[in-house]
Symmetry: C2
Subunit: 333 residues, 2 copies
Amino acid sequence: MTDFSRATIADVAERAGVSIATVSRVLNKTGQVSSVTATRVQTAIEELNFTPHAAARGLASRKTNTIGLILREIGGEFFQPMLRGIEAGTREHGYDLLIHCTHRIHGQGLPPHYPLSEHNSDGLLVFTDSLDEAEIIRLHHAQFPLVLLHRSSPDGLDIPCVTVENKLGARRLVDYLIEERGYHRIAFLAGPEDAEDSHWREMGYRDALEAHGISFDPALMRVGGFRAVTELLEDGVRPDAIFCGDDDTAIGALAALKASGLRVPEDIALVGFDDIPVARHLNPPLTTVRAPIETAAREAVQQLVRLIRTSEAEKLILLPTELVIRRSCGAAG
Amino acid sequence: MTDFSRATIADVAERAGVSIATVSRVLNKTGQVSSVTATRVQTAIEELNFTPHAAARGLASRKTNTIGLILREIGGEFFQPMLRGIEAGTREHGYDLLIHCTHRIHGQGLPPHYPLSEHNSDGLLVFTDSLDEAEIIRLHHAQFPLVLLHRSSPDGLDIPCVTVENKLGARRLVDYLIEERGYHRIAFLAGPEDAEDSHWREMGYRDALEAHGISFDPALMRVGGFRAVTELLEDGVRPDAIFCGDDDTAIGALAALKASGLRVPEDIALVGFDDIPVARHLNPPLTTVRAPIETAAREAVQQLVRLIRTSEAEKLILLPTELVIRRSCGAAG
DNA sequence: TTGAAAGCGCTAACAG
DNA sequence: CTGTTAGCGCTTTCAA
């Protein structure tokens, strides 16, 4: 379209009276350059307001200096802290960040053609189930650096994963409910089915029950928030506490409980997972588990960069979670 | 690092028994190609699982096919719907999306070097005050396509802007407060000072007062939420309604009012602007103005793409806002 | 309708 | 320490 008369490396070289190779050297700090020449080049660069052309650089070096983030969609409470961590991480390591949502691609019948791949990024961060397993496998087999965020690796592939201690966090929370607050009939409301996190949280829940000799009751296990609670109550099931797989679900559950005239925590206790920002502002404030989403994101970038640069990275990083006790579980606060 | 043996255009050409020029033609639908050859090429492309290399393409065509988004930081209620709109828009038009935060750059004394520019994107979306005015001017003078989101153009430059009807929205809201709810002593709490939106909202507020013959009282005008309200009350000022420049501010104000033992809306009405997700869940639910953030973002992309492709775009697009009446202003709901 | 060839701006051997 | 040169993979005249 319009033509931006940018200075090229040749212009800089000419102005500094050196070859382009030398300019390239000072640009990339590769190879020795006498400090006098270096200064001269530096000056020329500044005078011409020169910035290397990303595409040319990428073509020659076979590096894009870009990290891609793939997720299903932009939304949810996870998203913001996660992106913040990723952005900070990529920048810190000198990478650009390309973002891409896949929700418009899935299930359209057409062969999904992912605009993010080895052709425009040096590595990919894959959030939960945003990418087909087949595509993950293809990329991994092509030796393309991949780090999975909040999901585990396809069987037998051990692609590096970064996530939070879902199982242990849930275990601790339910332990607390049983030991400290004396609840025994604890329902579990799973979050959206596809979320792997939810699965691990359920495992933690089951572990806690088992550890306390409470047998698992399928009637106390549902999927969803508002509707699940409504149905639960209609079925005449009456737990003394409800553990929701995530805070969003807890919000729906809370609304349903209120609609049924039940008081939280007097009639029934309610707890969630994630500690999303509103959790503390709910009425009553929600007991939950804080997950270090931003830190996990940063860590994922760190591993990806390591993978890109050295071909190695931790296979699994689990960040610790923290119990956040608030009134909804019957605590004094 | 690792070498991904990707197929190149030459491989495709060889397999299809044509020249690379022809492959390029079918790839870009530029120039005539007999349907037989086209099919042959297409087949070869699929068989080799070929994807053109972005950098090579960019270098040759002097286009990056990428749009950059610059913002100060990732956060705030604006962010998510805005990014969603931008991502959808860029994808729709076939562009990749590069994201960059500037908050780490500003005020470091060093000459800010923005990693997003004419060297790695075809155009830039600039959110509020994320970019120095000097840099905006430089880019604009270099004919680089720029669209400003939620901010106006530097004087005399008329760079295309997309934002929402802040002034009119505020005007309507305050009109409603006065006409329908009978309030007369209405305070205005400005949001964070740097936000241009806040300025226009104040203008709308003043207009409404003036139109109803209510003289503007400086004592009713503050900056901030919680603290501003606390100080207001300490000063013995007692408005019958408070209009907050944004919902975040309203949340702080609400907390302060409750802390002072004042009931909303019985003792004092409270309204905000933005209709952020929690607004409806506040206690009482917050009357506010809904701003079509996502639509504005999409529109901005649309204009930027137009600017990139045709060098022209609307100079100013103002998206209409909508009054959202809830209990906090004394309405029945 | 197709092919040959000249770059796009830069990096990275390889010489000196 | 510095320069020469051959590409990187693709688009795009210009001829055929």
